[in-house]
């Protein structure tokens, strides 16, 4: 198996996901199955194949000037779970240190 239970927990932390204890083995098995299948690519001759990232060759750059489209803070906050005074509200990001 290419992915262990510990791998699952490590990448879950990177992805900000919590995996219940009971699911970690199942997920490790399923992800390994897909990655083992992906090893099919090792049979492919990739000599001279540069990576394709797929941006159109003629992707244009527009003028760096306002285009008149604007979302007001009030409108932007309408879909937010919590907001205050035109800002998104979140729990503490850093601890308050005593002066």
């Amino acid at each position: 198996m290419s992915i262990s239970r510990d791998d699952v927990n490590r990448i879950a932390e990177l992805a900000r996901l919590e995996i219940p204890e009971a699911d970690a083995d199942l997920l490790a098995g399923q992800l390994s199955q897909v990655l083992d299948f992906a090893a099919t690519l090792n049979r492919l001759d990739l000599e001279g194949c540069e990576p394709t990232a797929f941006a159109p060759a003629d992707a244009p750059l527009r003028d760096d000037a306002p285009d008149g489209r604007r979302l007001t803070p009030e409108r932007a906050l309408e879909g937010a779970p919590e907001g205050e005074d035109g800002f998104f509200l979140v729990p503490p990001v850093v601890e308050n240190l005593a002066p």
Binding site: E18, L31, F37, A38, T40, L44, P51, T52, G79, P91
Partner: protein
Amino acid sequence: MSDALWTLSATALAARVRSGAVAPEAAVESGWEGPAARWESDVRAMVAVDPVARAAGAKAAAGGPLQGVPVVVKDNLCTTDYTTTCASKILAGYRSPYDATVIRRLRAAGAVVTGKGNMDEFAMGSSTEYSAYGPTRNPFDLARVPGGSSGGPAAAVAYGLAPIGLGSDTGGSVRQPAAFCGVLGLKPTYGRLSRYGLVAFGSSLDQVGIFARHVGDVALIYAVLAGPDDCDATTRRAPAPDVSGWAQGVKGLRFGWPANLWQAGVDAELVEGLEEAAAWLEAAGAERVRFDFMPGEYAVATYYLVATAEASSNLARFDGVRYGFRHADSPDVRALYTRTRSAGFGPEVKRRILLGTYALSAGYYDAYYLTAQRARTRIRREHEEAFRRCDFMILPVSPTLPFRLGEKTEDPLAMYLSDIFTIGANLAGIPGLTVPVGLTAAGLPRAVQLLGPEDAEPTLLRAARALEVHGDVARLDGRHETEFAWPTKR
């Protein structure tokens, strides 16, 4: 032939509205008075329906080629008049402050959004079973899936709720449900339809796609939607190809026949459908060119590294801060992210985020992601090579007929392999079109897929029209009431 409004093409329905024979309100409501009135509670194609919104839409309908035409929109395209949730708990109740560009263009042409269609959560799936709203069922057989991820719009168009629908196609999510539901499904060339307002999944692969029951409608919608958009830098600047010649026939066109692809593992009735379709194309004056093509396994392997890597990055924005659901009880912001995402995402989305995070993580990037990016170049070259020998290729859409609910949900790899014939087009950035070719002995839809080089939409539509004229295309036209008697319960 039945003359009920819900059986008409978008083109014919708009003509009646424009002539004043039918009010836009009546045109929009007609979809809800057909089979949908009896069957929507079983099929469950729709996730957001609002009679007040659609009446307002009909009243405000612009004059234009789609005046008064109802359209079903996949729930990952932003609409101001309905919620946009991607069938995920994490976007429960979310209402976009703007319309997607494709929605703006449809409305400017007179179309009315008649509701939002079900989908696999964040378009990740091939059966519409991974939806927070529960599955949609196939209108031809309620025990079977409609395909996915755009299963809701495909089913809705198939059973007359609207003549046209919009979906998104990252690895086959328009073409495969179109095949399972017996309708046309176009994935345009990468960069031809704006993705502004399409919730991103795999940005180098995503395209907005079109469902319809008539080839002429696909051409019309493509003409309305295609073209550059200042809000999407990946749209091509050059004008979109002219598809007005969709009915001009296929005389002199060469079509590729890569029969090695269906030597094994493809349903016998689907192979029969391919052979009939090829014979119809030949009868209409096209020439068959036989050659071998690269097996689809390589495309599946490439895709599930590239698409999951891009998804893990795109879905990082769902963290409980700016939109949708937030976990109620979090002491700090890191816990807020983790708890919101863990409670908000379903199992398939989590699986793909984990896979993509792994493929991009330090120490594995070269082995997985970079290898996949290079394989993608090889796959593009294989397609370019094939299209030097023919104008378009014909191949299966899915290796199987619509499968039963629950058949593949426990085996992710088996589900992924059902995309084996559709993924290549996304990796290569080329157009693909699903064309229904009648029904199996048991009454399930059969379909073929047409693939062409970049900007070959006019060619694909000409070929689809040839099949429509010759073939037993499973569409409404009033026939189904007597012949198909669907939806059926088995």
